[in-house]
Amino acid sequence: MISQFFILSSKGDPLIYKDFRGDSGGRDVAELFYRKLMGLPGEESPVVMHHDDRHFIHIRHSGLYLVATTSENISPFSLLELLSRLATLLGDYCGSLGEGTISRNVALVYELLDEVLDYGYVQTTSTEMLRNFIQTEAVVSKPFSLFDLSSVGLFGAETQQSKVAPSSAASRPVLSSRSDPSQKNEVFLDVVERLSVLIASNGSLLKVDVQGEIRLKSFLPSGSEMRIGLTEEFCVGKSELRGYGPGIRVDEVSFHSSVQLDEFESHRILRLQPPQGELTVMRYQLSDDLPSPLPFRLFPSVQWDRGSGRLQVYLKLRCDLPPKSQALNIRLHLPLPRGVVSLSQELSSPEQKAELCDGALRWDLPRVQGGSQLSGLFQMEVPGLPGPPGQGQSTSAPPLGLGPASLSFELPRHTCSGLQVRFLRLAFRHCSNANPHKWVRHLSHSDAYVIRI
C-alpha cells in the first residue's frame, strides 16, 4: 500500500507531503527522491526507483512531480493510474494544476487526499463521489472571463472564436460554487487522434496506427444528459459494414462506464450523463488500414561525396490532405552523421526555417496547405565520415547516422480515421434559461511519424 504521497515543485521543493502509514522516513524522503531522480543515468528507467526498501513511483505533470512511495510489493500500475487520476482531480478541484494553485489550496489538497486514500488504500477517485465529502472551497487566482481575448487561440493561428475554445477555460476549477452560474454551462468535446506511422526507405508503409479518443470536459450541472452523435458510417471491427461507402472503420472501441449505448447500434449516438469534470468518453484504435491517404509523404534524395566530405540532402515534402485542410507547426527532424560542421540551405518558401541542433537537422514549417508540395535542399560538410564500403566516391547511399526522419505536426479539424462528431445535444432539466456553450473540436497530431532514409 502507499506509504507516502508528495508533490514536489520542478525545483524539488515539497508542496504537499502526506504520510499514510506512520512511516519513519519523514520528509527527508522527498529530498531523497529528488536527489535520486536527478542523478539517474540516462538509460535507466525513472519509472520505478528504490532506495533500500522504499520504492518511488512518480509522474510529471505540469512541471510538478507527483510521487508515491511504498515499501510493499504492490502494483505500480495502480500507483501510476492513481497519480494521473490525482492530477486530474486536483485540476478539477483547484483549477489547473500548478505550483501556485497547489500552494494556494494546501488545505483543500490535504482534504482531498484524506478522502482519496485511507491508510494508503485507494478509496475513490471520482470527482463526483468526492463532492459529497469535500468542504473546503478552492481559491482561484483570478476570476475567469470567457471573453478574455488574449488567451484565445489553441491552434496557433486558428483564432476564430466560434470554433476554438478559450484555452483558459480549462484552467478553471470544475467545482467551485462561487463562480458565476452563467459561466457554468459549458461543454468541451474534443476528438483527438494520435497518428504513428513508419515508412520504410523504399517508400512502403510498414506500420500505421491511430489512437483516438473523445474527451469531454463538462461544466454543466451533474446529471444533465447529453447525446453525442457520431458519423453514421462508423464501423467497429474488420467485418461490420454500414452505409454505402467504405465506412469509417476502427479496430477496437472502448467506452467510459457512464456511456449508455442503447442508441449506438442503430444511430451511432452515445448517451451519457457526465459528472462535472473531465472524462474520456470513448477510446478507439485503428491500425494498418487508413481510409484516407497519409497526410505527408517525404521524398528524400541524398548525394554524398566521400572524398570531399560533402553531404547533400534534398527533401521533398508533399502534403496529401484535402486542399481545404492544412497542417500546422510541422517540424521535420533528421538526425545527421556525427561531425556535421556547416549547413547551407535553399528552402522553397520564406517562412520556413532550418537549423542544426543537437546533431540533427531541424526544418520548421509553420503551415502547409493540403495538396501542396515543399522542398528543401541542404548541404553539409561532414569531414572523415565512415560509410558503406565497396562503393565509389560519390554515392547516393545514405551515410551512417543519417535518418530516420521524423515529422511532428498538428492537423486541426481533421481526423485520420474520418470520425466526426455529428452533433452534441444537451437535455436540460434545471437551468433552461442559460444557453450552454458547446465547443466541439477535432484534432489529429503526430505521435511518431517516421520515414526511414
Partner: protein
C-alpha cells in the same frame, strides 16, 4: 485574499499571532488560522507549540474546521502523546455524531494517531462503527482495523475485530467488501500461517459478485485477493476465469493487469486441449497490446510484465510482433525493453521482419540502443537456427561500417555465434581480424582473442596477432588477460613448434608478474599441465565445449513461475521475487502456480460443488443446497411413451396439437418416485426416442419445488416445454432460468415467464423459446443440456438430453454436385454405418417423413432392387451431415451410412433417424 500569504517567512512572533487568532471567537478567523498552521506545517515549520490551541478548536460543528483540526492532529499527535489524550473525548463523542461524515472522520483520524494510549479508547467506538448503518462509516472502520493491527496486533485479536472484519466480506456494500478484503489481505500477510482469509468456493463467489459492483480500486483489491486462491480443479478455475475475463476491457490498466495475473495463474490448471484454453489465450492479447498505447511510464511497466508473460506463454503474443517495433520517440528504457521482447518473440516465421528492423536500429544515433540492437541480432542467430546465416551476414555488413562501437559489439556476438555453431562461419574471421586495431573495449578484445585462440589452426598469423596483444599485457583488464593466456596455450597445443617462446612468455607474465590470484592460478595450472603431460593438457584445454543456447538469457523457470504470480506488482518490474526487496516478514510468502489437474478425474462430491456456479458442474451432479439434498433428490423417469408426439414432424403437422397431446400423456403418467440413489444420470442410457418423455421431478432438500421438464422440441423455431409443480408449502415467485454452455449454444431466447406466483401444489406449463446463439462448450454426451431454475427459495439444477433433430435447419438441402464432391471429400474413416430395424415404410414415405424433419433427399437411385436415398442435413451450427439410406423393398431393416466432418454427431443423427422413422 489568497492563501499564498501563509507562506511568507516566519517572523518573530508569528506563532504568537497564530495563537491569538486560534483563540478568536470568530469562526472564520479560526478557520483561516488553522489553514495557516497547516500551510506552515507543509513547508516544514514546527508548529507543534500550537497543539493545545488547535485542539481547542476541535469542539465545533463546522465540518470544514473540524477536518482541518483533525489534519493537524494526525501530524503532531505522535510528538505530543500527552496532549493527544486531550482530544480523545471529542473523538469518542464524534464517533456517535448523527452525521456519518463526522463519525467516519473521527474513526479515521483516531486510527492515524499512532499513540498507544489512544488505541485503548479507540476500541469501543471502532466496534460500533464496524456495525454502523452507514456504509461510508463501515468502510472507514474496516480500514481502521488494519491501522490498529499495525499498532497493536494483539489488541485487535483480543477484541475480536478480525471476526467482524471477516463478516464484512459479505457486506451488502461493495466498497465495504473491497476495504475489508484489502485490510484482511494485509493482516494475513503478516501472519502467513493464520487462516484469516479463508477462501473457499462460497466466499470466492461472493467476491466475484462484489467484483462487478465496486469501484475500479476495489476491483484491484479483490482481484489480487482472488489470485491467492487455488481452485480445487480445472472446472472451478475455468468458471472463475470466465467471470474475471470481462475485467480485461477495463479502462484502468491496474485492473487489467490484476485480471491478467489471475488468468495467467489459473490457466496453469486448465488443460491445453480445452477449447476454453484457446479462447482465453486469444482474449489475453488485445488488452496487453492496448497497454502499449499509454504513456511511456505505463508502457515500461507493461513491457516488463509482457516480458514475463512472453517467456511463460509465447503463444499469446506470437502474432503481435509489430506492436513491439521501436518508435523513434520512445524513451530509451522503453526501446530496450521492446527490443528484448522482440527477440523473445522471434521465430522462423517472422525472423526476416525482425532482422530488417534490427538492422535499421543498428544505424540509429543512440549508442546504447545501437549496441543492444547489434547484440539482439546475435541473439536471433542463436535462437533461430535457420536465420543464423542471415544474421551473420547482417553483422558483417555492420562491421563494414567501421563505426567503432558497432564493430566491437558485433565481434562480441559473433563469438557467441561461434559457440553455438562451431566450425560453420570461420570464413568471416578474416574480416574480423581486419578490425583488430579498433577494438578498445575489454569485452570485445577478449572476444576477439577467444576467436583467434579457438581457430588458431586456421589463422595463419595467429601467433602474430596474439603476440601483438601480449605487448601491453599488464595494461589489459583481467578479462582480457585470462583470455589471452588461454588463447596462447590453445595456440601452443595446436602449433607447438612455432609458439614455444610465446607460451613461455605469457606463462611467466601471468605467474610471476601479476598480482591477480585468478590469473596466477590459471597460469600455474597450465604450466604444470604442459610440463607434466601435454596429452592431458590437450584433452583439458581443447576439450569440446558445450553449446550455448538461447535459454541462457531466460529467467530461470522456478523464478519465472513465482514472478507470474506477481504480475502487475513491483516484483514484475524488477524481475526479482518480493523477498529480495521487501522488508521483513511482509509479503515474502512464496507463491507458486497451481498444479495442473487432470480434467474429469476429480471425484467431486455434491457437497463440495460450488453452489451457484452451474457452469462448473459435472453433468450428472446436482449441487447441494443443503446436506439433505443428495438423499432427497428424486429422479422421475417417465415411461417410454409409445405414442408421444413426433416432435420432428411437427414442423408441418401442427405441432401444438401433438405436443398438447404429448404433454397430456406425460402429465397423465404416474409420477413414481425412484429411491433416492440419485446422482446417476438416469437418462444417459435411455433411448433417444424417449427424449421428449424424459421427465424429471426435482425436489430440493426442503422439498420446495417439483418441476417436470420436458425436453425441447421443434416448432420451426426451437423451444422447450417445462412443467413446474410446486411441492413445497411456500408460494414461489421470481422464477428465472439459465442454461449451462452446451454443444450447440442453446440458450433461452426470452426470460422464464411465470406470471403469477406458484402456490403449493400448483402446476404451471410453459413453453420457453430457445435460440442457438449462446456460448458453446462441448458436452458429454453431445446433446446434454444442463439447466438451472431459480426462484425465491433456491436454485434447482437438472440436466436433460435433447434430440438432435430439433437442430436440423431448413436450408439443409445440398446441391447434387456439391453432395457428390463432399461425399468423396470426407475421408472414409468418418463414415459410420447403422441399422434401422423394423421400419415398415417404403422409400417415398421415408423420404417425405424425413423431409418434414429437415432431412432432405438429394438423389435417389435404384441399384439391384435396392432403393438408395442420398440425403443431406445441416445443423444450426453449420455442420453438414451426408447420409446414404439403403432400403430393400420388403425388408424392414434399413442401412444408414453417415458421413460428416464432425464424426461425433453421427451417433446422434442416427438416433434422430430412428426417432423420426419409428413414430
Amino acid at each position: 485574499m489568497t492563501d499564498s500569504k501563509y507562506f511568507t517567512t516566519t517572523k518573530k512572533g508569528e506563532i504568537f499571532e497564530l495563537k491569538a487568532e486560534l483563540n478568536s471567537d470568530k469562526k472564520e478567523k479560526k478557520k483561516e488560522a488553522v489553514k495557516k498552521v497547516i500551510a506552515s506545517m507543509t513547508v516544514g515549520k514546527d508548529v507543534s507549540a500550537l497543539f493545545p490551541d488547535v485542539v481547542n478548536c476541535m469542539q465545533t460543528d463546522n465540518l470544514e474546521l473540524k477536518k482541518l483540526v483533525y489534519l493537524y492532529l494526525m501530524n503532531y499527535a505522535k510528538s505530543q502523546p500527552d496532549m493527544a489524550i486531550m482530544a480523545v473525548n471529542t473523538f469518542v463523542k464524534d464517533c456517535e455524531d448523527p452525521n456519518p461524515l463526522i463519525r467516519a472522520l473521527a474513526v479515521r483520524t483516531m486510527g492515524c494517531i499512532r499513540v498507544d494510549k489512544i488505541t485503548e479508547y479507540l476500541c469501543e467506538p471502532l466496534r460500533k462503527c464496524l456495525k454502523d448503518e452507514d456504509p461510508y462509516v463501515r468502510k472507514t472502520a474496516a480500514v481502521c482495523v488494519a491501522k490498529l493491527h499495525d499498532i497493536n496486533a494483539q489488541l485487535v485479536e483480543d477484541q475480536g475485530f478480525l471476526d467482524t472484519l471477516k463478516d464484512l466480506i459479505s457486506d451488502s456494500n461493495p466498497m465495504v467488501v473491497a476495504n475489508a478484503v484489502a485490510a484482511l489481505s494485509e493482516i494475513a500477510e503478516s501472519h502467513p500461517s493464520s487462516n484469516l482469509l479463508d477462501l473457499n468456493p462460497q466466499s470466492i463467489n461472493k467476491l466475484l459478485t462484489a467484483l462487478n459492483e465496486c469501484t475500479e480500486w476495489g476491483q484491484i483489491f479483490i482481484l489480487d485477493c482472488l489470485a491467492n486462491y487455488t481452485p480445487k480443479d480445472d472446472r472451478e478455475a475455468q468458471s472463475i476465469c470466465e467471470r474475471v475475463t470481462p475485467r480485461l476491457s477495463h479502462a484502468n490498466s491496474a485492473v487489467v493487469l490484476s485480471a491478467v495475473k489471475v488468468l495467467m495463474k489459473f490457466m496453469e490448471m486448465l488443460s491445453k486441449d480445452l477449447d476454453y484454453y484457446g479462447t482465453l489465450l486469444k482474449k489475453l492479447a488485445p488488452p496487453l497490446v492496448t497497454l502499449l498505447s499509454a504513456e511511456p511510464e505505463l508502457q515500461y511497466v507493461a513491457l516488463r510484465n509482457i516480458n514475463l508473460i512472453v517467456q511463460k506463454r509465447p503463444e499469446i503474443l506470437k502474432h503481435e510482433m509489430k506492436v513491439f517495433f521501436v518508435k523513434y520517440n520512445d524513451p530509451i528504457y522503453v526501446k530496450l525493453e521492446k527490443l528484448d521482447i522482440m527477440i523473445r518473440l522471434a521465430s522462423q516465421a517472422n525472423i526476416a521482419q525482425v532482422l530488417a528492423e534490427l538492422k535499421e536500429y543498428a544505424t540509429e544515433v543512440d549508442v546504447d540502443f545501437v549496441r543492444k540492437a547489434v547484440r539482439a541480432i546475435g541473439r536471433c542467430a542463436i535462437k533461430v537456427e535457420q536465420s543464423a546465416e542471415r544474421c551473420v551476414s547482417t553483422l558483417l555488413d555492420l562491421i563494414q561500417t567501421k563505426v567503432n562501437y558497432v564493430v566491437q559489439e558485433a565481434i562480441v556476438v559473433i563469438k557467441d555465434i561461434f559457440r553455438k555453431y562451431p566450425n560453420k562461419y570461420e570464413s568471416v574471421i578474416a574480416t574480423l581480424c581486419e578490425n583488430l586495431d579498433s577494438l578498445d573495449e575489454p569485452e570485445a578484445r577478449a572476444a576477439m582473442i577467444w576467436i583467434v585462440g579457438e581457430y588458431a589452426e586456421r589463422i595463419d598469423n595467429a601467433d602474430e596477432l596474439l603476440e601483438s596483444f601480449l605487448e601491453g599485457f599488464h595494461d589489459e583488464s583481467t578479462q582480457v588477460q585470462l583470455q589471452l593466456l588461454t588463447a596462447i596455450v590453445k595456440l601452443f597445443l595446436k602449433k607447438p613448434t612455432e609458439t614455444q617462446e610465446l607460451v613461455q612468455q605469457v606463462l611467466s607474465l601471468a605467474t610471476q608478474d601479476s598480482d591477480n590470484p585468478d590469473l596466477r592460478d590459471r597460469g600455474y595450472i597450465y604450466w604444470r599441465l604442459l610440463s607434466t603431460d601435454p596429452v592431458a593438457a590437450k584433452e583439458v584445454v581443447l576439450a569440446e565445449k558445450p553449446l550455448i543456447s538461447e535459454e541462457t538469457d531466460l529467467i530461470e523457470p522456478t523464478l519465472l513461475d513465482e514472478l507470474i504470480c506477481y504480475i502487475g506488482t513491483l516484483a514484475s518490474v524488477y524481475h526479482k521475487p518480493p523477498s529480495a526487496f521487501v522488508e521483513g516478514g511482509r509479503g515474502v510468502v512464496h507463491k507458486s502456480l497451481p498444479p495442473r489437474t487432470a480434467s474429469n478425474e476429480s471425484t467431486e462430491s455434491p457437497e463440495t460443488a460450488p453452489a451457484g456456479a452451474p457452469s462448473g458442474e459435472q453433468p450428472d451432479v446436482i449441487p447441494s443446497q443443503g446436506d439433505l439434498l443428495g438423499d432427497l433428490l428424486n429422479l422421475d423417469l417417465g415411461p417410454p411413451v409409445s405414442g408421444p408426439p413426433l416432435a420432428t414432424s411437427s414442423v408441418q403437422m401442427g405441432a401444438v396439437d401433438l405436443l398438447g397431446g404429448g404433454l397430456d400423456s406425460l402429465i397423465g403418467a404416474p409420477n413414481f418416485v425412484t429411491p433416492p440413489a440419485a446422482t446417476a444420470p438416469a437418462n444417459l442410457g435411455a433411448p433417444m426416442g424417449s427424449g421428449l418423455s424424459d421427465l424429471f421431478d426435482l425436489t430440493s432438500g426442503v422439498g420446495a419445488l417439483s418441476g417436470s421438464y420436458v425436453a425441447p422440441k421443434a416448432v420451426g423455431s426451437i423451444s422447450m416445454d417445462l412443467q413446474l409443480t410446486n411441492k413445497a408449502l411456500q408460494v414461489m415467485t421470481d422464477f428465472a432460468i439459465q442454461f449451462n454452455r452446451n454443444s450447440f449454444g442453446l440458450a433461452p431466447a426470452a426470460p422464464l415467464q411465470v406470471h403469477a406466483p406458484l402456490s403449493p401444489n400448483q402446476t404451471v406449463e410453459l413453453s420457453l423459446p430457445l435460440s442457438t446463439v449462446g456460448s458453446v462448450m462441448k458436452m458429454e454426451p453431445l446433446n446434454n443440456l444442463q439447466v438451472a431454475v431459480k426462484n425465491n427459495i433456491d436454485v434447482f439444477y437438472f440436466s436433460t438430453l435433447y434430440p438432435l433433430h430439433i437442430l436440423f435447419v431448413e436450408d439443409g438441402k445440398m446441391d447434387r454436385q456439391v453432395f457428390l464432391a463432399t461425399w468423396k471429400d470426407i475421408p472414409n474413416e468418418n463414415e459410420a454405418q447403422f441399422q434401422i430395424r423394423d421400419c415398415p415404410l417404403n422409400a417415398e414415405a421415408v423420404s417425405s417423413r424425413l423431409q418434414s424433419s429437415n432431412i432432405f433427399t438429394v438423389a435417389k437411385r435404384t441399384v439391384e432392387g435396392q432403393d438408395m436415398l442420398y440425403q443431406s442435413l445441416k445443423l444450426t451450427n453449420g455442420i453438414w451431415v451426408l447420409a446414404e439410406l439403403r432400403i430393400q423393398p420388403g425388408n424392414p431393416s434399413f442401412t444408414l451410412s453417415l458421413k460428416c466432418r464432425a464424426p461425433e454427431v453421427a451417433q446422434h443423427v442416427y438416433q434422430a433417424y430412428e426417432t423420426i422413422l419409428k413414430n
